[in-house]
Assembly symmetry: C3
Homo-oligomer: 273 residues x 3
């Protein structure tokens, strides 16, 4: 099924509107092209509604947010909602400042998100900040392992239900849930934490996958998460002795570029709960 | 002749002021250094006039424009005009929003550009938006091929005449015209469309080439276009099986770094009409 | 001793707050991760005080400054001072515009910097602009060589004394002084000038090193400068015939990623004056 979802990206070449940070934006653009989608970056309030209108999905990332771009995120998100196009939120560092938390909460209140994607610390902080952890155990470790997987799955389900989105939590094991069904994905490599932007790249990828298969956001998100993890594995396999995180970062994008739907279908490692 | 033009860049090391987007800005800086020029990025209205004054050319790219930087583009462009220094416009995605079109039109009205560089879709949209297509057939396909080359050449000539600039249109064949003479350039590789920023890099390169040979903007632009295409060919030749668009993007800059004027002179493939 | 300083980075994983330019920001993030530190980029006035509070050091770089981020630099710098955390200033292109000079002077007046790092032209311009060259010979060449080293050392000492900071001047030979003791560092490779951002990367690295050994800012700065230079040498050794400045840029980060404290201890080439 991941194979079909990836094929849809290759067939439909979705155009993705990104309002994202200036640290990893270049890699987000390249990974979108690599997977068969196309990127456009636009963050001025005067043009974002128009840009969203010509796109198949919107990727909102609060990595280096500021007053000017927060307004643009709200406009773009609402326009995408009005047009029935998917919107993905990456609440980067949401626990690190009041501005980030307030922005993420305002976005959650005013925009209907298709997917919220973060690492375990971010999603925990966001769930706590949003008050959606009432009755949910957000007292999680900062790493998803075989031992605490049940707890994280329950948490992801509850948070997905309350926010009515697909929740994607990345860690050593990735957990993707729509509140009913949960994918636990075992792809990836520890070195993906050693360069900037793996998470941002994944959010862009998720947006492309969901835009190409909008009626199956859970499966599309899980497929994108598996593709990114698999790319990390392939990239690691290419590394020679003198290569480090800068080369590795490029190799993950290269791996997405060379990944066929068949390779993803065969390489994805997951279980459904 | 392209050889001499490239030699001028190597001899004069022009300093180029870039007001450009935050997606591909890093690559623009590196390709300028790679060709023998030097970059400076500055976009605050309070300093752009001064920065332009110490530079040999200005590169204006509307890829991620906003109110703040639009004002800076106008100031920098006018200052360059007052000093007789070349100014290049890259109207990225000009057809995608009213803000981009309005900005590009305002720039065209208030700044005398030396070169306008875009892909075929952008230049068509810009010509239509600027009303300069009166009597010009802008009803072009989105790809320049051997079959429609005559039509594109006629269009480029007419648009160049009306705007009094050199028009550079990139596609499978690139067309560069000053309204009288037209270069059709056959360098390049399809993979140049598979990473972000080949067009932005080219605009930076054009600015350096024109700044180094300001009395021959048509030939300087054509030489830069050929150099970029040749770099794309050389970079493709280096690609091994596992490499994709991220590696390819770096290899095009590497190819400019290692390109001598002699290599450009021998490798440039073009006809003059 | 450089070995121990680098070990401290590996042990403490300092989190570094960067307010920096959008040209080289991605490489600054990756070099911080490469050395064992962690980056956060945040430049909105509403959140910078909070972000600084959770970080071990602040890196301020005026490469693409604007009104909005200047305010943020002041807030972050003052907060770091209040918390006793190190702050590093990279006065990129300080001589190129009044805005840059005024900003750098205002920062110097209102923030107590631990280290000021620039190339010889920048530090000369800054010293002249700040009026600290009274009685100091700032009439230096733009290149530090064996022949003018004594003059540069005297200048660095005097400027360090007047500003009460560690001054790091980069060139063919790098000079790091706290006004009493001066390190002259002979690592590095000329190709480090052929890509954008070696200086910015170094400022990030210096911040990490000083944050991990805050009681020895002179030695920590010198160790970071030696590490960067050594990375440039190692990266050059990896270059094959077709590779240029884009590959080289990645290789310097890779070299920091693979550099152990032992490698730095053995590879550092310096004399103390």
């Amino acid at each position: 099924m991941f194979k079909n979802i990836f094929e849809n990206v290759k067939k439909t070449h979705p155009l993705i509107h990104n309002i994202t940070n200036y640290v990893t934006v270049h890699d987000c653009a390249n990974i979108l092209i690599a997977c068969g989608a196309a990127p456009i970056m636009a963050d001025d309030a005067e043009e974002v509604a128009e840009i969203t209108s010509i796109c198949h999905g919107v990727n909102i990332n609060i990595g280096t947010l500021n007053r000017r771009t927060i307004a643009s995120m709200l406009i773009a998100g609402k326009r995408a909602n009005a047009l029935g196009r998917p919107v993905v939120l990456d609440p980067v560092g949401v626990g690190a400042s009041k501005l980030r938390m307030d922005t993420a909460l305002k976005l959650l209140e005013e925009v209907r998100f298709t997917v919220i994607k973060g690492n375990i610390s971010e999603i925990k902080a966001f769930a706590t900040g949003s008050g959606t952890t009432r009755g949910v155990d957000a007292n999680l470790a900062d790493r998803i392992t075989g031992e605490n997987l049940d707890t994280v799955v329950a948490f992801a389900k509850a948070f997905a239900k309350e926010t009515r989105t697909v929740i994607a939590i990345t860690s050593a094991i990735d957990v993707v849930s729509d509140g009913e069904t949960t994918y636990c994905i075992h792809n990836g490599h520890p070195m993906m934490e050693s360069y900037t932007g793996a998470g941002c790249q994944l959010s862009a990828l998720v947006t492309a996958f969901v835009a190409a298969t909008p009626d199956r956001p859970l499966e599309a998100t899980a497929a994108a998460v598996a593709a990114m993890g698999l790319a990390g594995e392939i990239a690691y396999g290419r590394l020679s002795e003198m290569e480090g995180n800068a080369s590795y970062s490029n190799y993950t994008i290269d791996a997405i570029y060379n990944m066929t739907p068949e390779i993803l279908g065969k390489g994805a490692k997951y279980e459904v709960r």
